[in-house]
Symmetry: C2
Subunit: 108 residues, 2 copies
DNA sequence: CCGAATCCTTTTGGATACTG
DNA sequence: CAGTATCCAAAAGGATTCGG
């Protein structure tokens, strides 16, 4: 979570600070559907390395956007899910999804 | 402008490909208000270097999101403005602005 | 004023090997 | 399965200089 003195003046800049990068946005897009396991995310996000995925997940977890649940099984199972805060970002992802759809359609 | 075979399947990925980076989003946020001059943008975007600003502007210009107009004066004046396509991204930036506002307010 | 070009540092990220 | 650790290559980014 960002502390108060790290928050930029502009609200957009605040948002950008949390999810203004390629992989974080794509991870959030996935988690908008349902919880995902680590390797599931890795397969889905074509081209991402394990390191980058781990780092990205840690970062947005620290920012309180997602939760990480470890199920003590063998083999281990770890699930990533949206937090309540992360859920509030849905309108942003929806807007991006709609724009991308129209763009590909040639509607715009 | 992206060609058809460069477009990813997911609409969000398409959008991310165009504006999924810190500075591009902040540039678009500014241009949502009105056209801006180069040095004006540079002053507004605290911490950006001339090179990064130039590169970012070229990139989103090539993608058709903004226009670049050179006024043949002395000293030269160059204005960057939203294209019609760029204008259609307003809902995305609006969603980010609203989220950032609520986040800073502690409303969420 | 608005860059392009160059050089150089810093950061990011991929590959691999290893672990509970 | 879900990581961590290490090393190294690639890319991004800063500083500076120069030009129309």
């Amino acid at each position: 979570m960002l502390t108060k003195d790290e928050l930029p003046e502009c609200p957009v800049a605040t948002t950008v600070q949390l999810i203004g990068s390629k992989w974080k946005l794509l991870i959030m897009r996935n988690l908008m559907m349902r919880p995902w396991r680590f390797n599931e995310l890795k397969k889905s996000l074509e081209g991402i390395s394990q390191k980058v995925l781990t780092d990205s997940l840690r970062s947005i977890e620290e920012d309180g956007l997602i939760t990480r649940t470890v199920y003590p099984e063998v083999p281990p199972r770890v699930e990533y899910a949206l937090s309540d805060l992360g859920e509030t970002m849905r309108p942003i992802l929806d807007a991006m999804q709609e724009w991308g759809t129209n763009y590909k359609n040639g509607t715009i």
